[in-house]
């Protein structure tokens, strides 16, 4: 694969098409393949660059080490964009990759043109959600259950538990074998995610985003993800929101044509 040496790590990426660069950041258990279903339509008019973050496939990580951190991945993406050396880019992140993209926009707005956050992951602090239980966010506890299974060699069970938490109980059994295998390929990254120490979002952070921002959600996504999306979208100045009917958290795999239409319309707008 193509790689850039970024903060001492060979970061892999897939690059397709010509035009203004659009850098895509996958989420938990994803990798550069996550965006396969939208590569075609997006690369017609864009140079699409889909990265694999540190420790995700094509690396076969054993889960040992302390550099799977939100801060590390943010620093890696910043360095990646700097090394790309194309001037300001459009940045799109899904789920945990949306969290990373948000932090990049917060820290280095001059690197970005537009920002697309597809159901960014994370937690809200009390300035965004007055009832937030900052000591023990419920999803962190369930993530621990998944990681424990993987640590004990129950790869399928651990990944299935994570997937069910995001999509719905029983969703893993309905998922096709091909996307399942790609999640399995990244199972050990969940061990890193347990200790990644990501901070919750604050209202003042959302208000500080200067890039033109669009949030995309699946209309049928349940739980905390839609709450985070709505809270951030309310406070990021001028942010747009599009919800895709009949889709959940992996909305760009479930509705690739609709997703691409929304993204291209936003990127093409003056």
């Amino acid at each position: 694969m193509q790689t850039f040496r970024v903060n001492g790590y060979d970061m892999s990426y897939l690059e397709i098409g010509e035009g203004p660069p659009l850098v895509c950041i996958h989420g938990t258990l994803g990798d550069f393949r996550t965006w396969s279903a939208v590569m075609g339509p997006l690369s017609k008019t864009r140079r699409v660059i889909s990265v694999s973050l540190r420790h995700f496939f094509p690396e076969h990580w054993d889960g040992v080490g302390d550099d799977y951190l939100m801060a590390q991945h943010v620093a890696d993406v910043i360095e990646f964009i700097v090394k790309l050396d194309t001037g300001p880019i459009d940045l799109m992140g899904h789920s945990r990759g949306g969290h990373i993209a948000f932090r990049v926009a917060e820290q280095r707005p001059e690197l970005l043109r537009k920002l697309i956050l597809a159901e960014p992951g994370g937690d809200l602090d009390r300035s965004l959600e007055p009832d937030a239980n900052e000591a023990a966010p419920p999803r962190a506890m369930r993530l621990g259950v998944s990681a424990d299974k993987i640590r004990h060699g129950v790869i399928e069970g651990g990944v299935a538990a994570f997937y069910a938490m995001i999509e719905a109980e029983g969703a893993w059994a309905r998922l096709h074998a091909a996307p399942k295998q790609q999640l399995r390929d990244n199972a050990f990254t969940l061990l890193g995610q347990i200790g990644e120490n990501r901070r919750p979002y604050k209202r003042v952070e959302a208000e500080s985003i200067r890039s033109a921002t669009m949030f995309i959600g699946g209309a049928d996504t349940q739980g905390a993800l839609p709450a985070v999306l709505r809270a951030l979208a309310t406070h990021v100045p001028g942010a747009k929101t599009k919800m895709i009917e009949g889709a959940r958290h992996w909305m760009f795999e479930q509705r690739p044509q609709e997703f691409c239409r929304i993204v291209l319309e936003f990127l093409d707008a003056p």
Binding site: A37, P41, K44
Partner: protein, 270 residues
């Protein structure tokens, strides 16, 4: 993407992992992305090189010209393996890519170590199927032509539905998840080239000429011509092995990626 210039064409490929090289050739309407669900397990011990043949995504072909043919694609793959300059490679082809791989093994056994044919596409001549009439069109010719006509007229989804239902059975397109559907859409125009290609049928002499150790892989539930071609070729390729994967049809490596990878790795290691 990474590319090699072969016979005047920039051929894109994905290159993951280290070890003995395994070159993967996709079938009709697909591209390098089709191998995504097996990249993880296979790349642990092998250098996986998944090509996109001439005119497939990431190219956006207009369907015009006579450079889409088995003969051209075989020439391109020979040039690709030569330029790769990694010594003899293992070669794996699916469907029409299995046909290309078979022809390559016939012409240039010196380039290959082992050969894996996953339900190779094609027709049988009277030396392999006494019921076959020379010059009679394949039973797939008429439906594929009708598919191509729809696609040429702009009805991409209608054309693809007809193609897929012909191979996989009624309502196969409707049941297919959105992500693999989009991959077929990205390559729809290649079908215009395919219906113009007059590929010769397989003969008994062709099969007997293969000297590379060969494994055929089939879906246990695949019916019709593809199953017939597989078992007939296997009966005449000297010393070849056959493995069928329970519960799968033509896209067997997407439907059972773990089992498929076990079968492939066992054969390559033996």
């Amino acid at each position: 993407m990474q590319t090699l210039t072969i016979n005047g064409y920039q051929m894109a490929y994905l290159d993951i992992g280290q070890g003995p090289p395994l070159v993967c050739v996709h079938g009709s309407l697909c591209d390098f992305r089709i191998w995504s669900p097996v990249l993880g397990p296979l790349s642990r011990k092998h250098r996986i090189i998944a090509v996109s043949l001439r005119h497939f995504f990431p190219e956006r072909w207009d369907g015009i010209g006579d450079t889409y043919s088995i003969a051209q694609h075989v020439d391109d793959m020979i040039g690709f393996i030569e330029k790769l300059d990694a010594g003899p490679v293992d070669l794996m082809g699916h469907s029409r890519g299995g046909h290309v791989s078979f022809r390559l093994a016939q012409r240039r056994p010196d380039l290959l170590r082992k050969l894996i044919l996953a339900e190779p596409g094609g027709e049988l001549d009277p030396s392999l199927d006494p019921a076959a009439r020379p010059d009679a069109p394949s039973p797939l010719t008429a439906p594929f032509r009708a598919s191509a006509e729809k696609i040429a007229a702009g009805d991409i989804d209608g054309g693809l539905a007809l193609f897929l239902d012909t191979i996989e059975g009624p309502r196969a397109w409707r049941r297919l998840p959105a992500a693999p559907k989009q991959l077929l859409r990205d390559n729809a125009m290649t079908l215009l080239g395919q219906v113009r290609d007059k590929r010769p049928p397989f003969s008994k002499r062709d099969a007997e000429a293969i000297r590379t150790p060969t494994l055929f892989i089939g879906g246990a539930n695949t019916k019709g011509l593809l199953a017939q071609v597989l078992h007939t070729l296997a009966a005449h390729v000297k010393g070849s092995k056959v493995t069928t994967i329970p519960g799968t049809t033509h896209p067997m490596f997407e439907q059972a990626p773990q089992r498929y990878c076990e079968v492939v790795l066992e054969f390559l290691a033996s």
